[in-house]
Symmetry: C2
Subunit: 295 residues, 2 copies
């Protein structure tokens, strides 16, 4: 039997990076230098790594970037004061606060304090509400947007298809449902969201033309969850112990790739699928912010 | 065979009105007089009727109300200037702009111009975004909220159930999906949204434990759409010609009530189901706005 084809997020992200680079050059010719500020708090090695990766990619496409690192015990007020300053600074187009934050800080209040016009993560409720309404002059969260873009570039039809989303997080499941049920191109899907309280999870998944696994449960989706020839997108990121790896762990997704590639028509590798798309959309959002900032 | 029991929106709305009246009295004892302003534009008899009904109900529960009626050709700026004044006036807790508006006005811009803390309709994108995130310090749209409340008062279980929503409007389908998939009491459902682009609409509907029809297509949902013992909620409002009626038309819902009451376990009458609940939640939201306005 034929194996599933790969939805190669690394490859598509590379294409998008080149397009972003061209858009940055056009803006620079008009005298606009897109600029993003990353905010980090405390010592959290994965956050440091993520910010470094994002900054490196921003640099590659010609976006100026700055990292503000606060000590672990920074006060809410200090973070908010800095956000206010950045919100008002016209030379800064995008602001990203790397999550998670220490527990004494309110992620909710901090997300609300970012100028929605600079909210390149698309986490501000104003942007999420506009997305739910189908508006375009706003920022959509990067992972849902990256999944849509990945399917679009591989000409996977979404309209009228059965899309089943496993998981209802605020950064993936819920906004992805909002995105895919819109009356618009590359959407218009019949969307079902299943989660920990759902009964018949497997039966729902088996009805999916496009199955998106975003629960964060290592290899939850096994072969019997997938309809033959379905399109399978794996958003999950879990660490499992692996003594053969130098770090002692390895990253696995929500999908049992080796089994499911035998029956799906398309499948994302993980890593190398949704992850690179998320960063690509973050930089695309930064360019959009710079473009929209012009009167 | 036993007939479906009625989800009597008029009766439950009456209960809620009494509770709202008590809440208003508590606020008045603290020196707060809840006040709502209704804004109307032009001559549109159904809008006039809706505003009159809302004002009458507000009056009954002790909420002060005011109606501002603009001529058909009012400018966007005049509406926005008035909204700004009302937004800043601390004696006004709720603002409602009756839709639809004449085509020269931007409903989108006007919705955005209402102070989200006075947005008792729950149509401001900030409130919709907060709802999607599962936050509580905000206003949810009245029809979805009224449906949830109606099911709750009749002790219809929602958690873990298959909820199928027919229709994806910005005021019913989309926010209702957002509401029912939250990780919270009276939610936690497996939610599917079907719409004009969906295939297998009937098959989806037949899987619903709770079927919510909000397409606005007269009697679209016939007997073969409904699983025996399902709960059926009819949100639709369509006019059909009826020479026996004094107006020459009558209002029918999306559901073929007479047939479906024979197989459902619970069903909303229409009228008398979701409609009265919507107004009840509007007034409950007004009281919430007055309560939240206190420091």
């Amino acid at each position: 039997m034929e194996e599933a084809q790969l939805l190669d997020g690394r490859y598509v992200a590379g294409q998008i990076h080149r397009e972003t680079m061209e858009a940055v050059q056009r803006l620079r010719r008009k005298g606009i230098l897109p600029c993003v500020v990353f905010i980090r708090v405390g010592n959290h090695p994965p956050s440091e790594l993520y910010v470094r990766m994002k900054q490196k990619k921003a640099q590659e496409v010609g976006i100026q970037s700055e990292v503000i690192s606060f000590p672990e015990d920074v006060s809410q007020k200090e973070v908010l004061d800095n956000l206010n300053r950045l919100n008002l600074d016209p030379s800064i187009h995008g602001i990203l606060v790397q999550l998670p934050l220490p527990s004494h800080l309110s992620e909710k209040q901090i997300a609300l304090a970012i100028n929605p016009k600079k909210d390149i993560d698309g986490f501000h409720p104003l942007n999420l509400g506009k997305m739910l309404l189908g508006e375009k002059d706003c920022f959509y969260p990067c992972t849902p947007l990256g999944i849509q873009e990945l399917l679009k570039r591989y000409k996977i039809e979404i309209e009228g298809k059965e899309v089943v989303i496993l998981g209802r997080s605020n950064i993936v499941g819920k906004p992805l449902a909002a995105l895919f049920l819109q009356k618009s191109k590359y959407a218009n899907a019949t969307v079902t969201v299943v989660h920990s309280f759902s009964q018949n999870i497997k039966e729902h998944c088996r009805q999916a033309d496009i199955l998106i696994a975003a629960m964060g449960k290592a290899r939850f989706v096994t072969r019997d969850f997938v309809k033959p020839k379905a399109v399978v997108v794996d958003v999950g990121v879990s660490r499992i112990a692996d003594s053969s790896s130098p770090q002692g762990y390895r990253i696995v997704g929500d999908v049992d790739f080796d089994e499911i590639k035998k029956i799906a028509s398309w499948i994302t590798p993980n890593p190398g699928g949704v992850g690179p798309m998320t960063i690509a959309m973050l930089l695309a959002n930064t360019v959009k912010a710079a473009e929209l900032s012009q009167p």
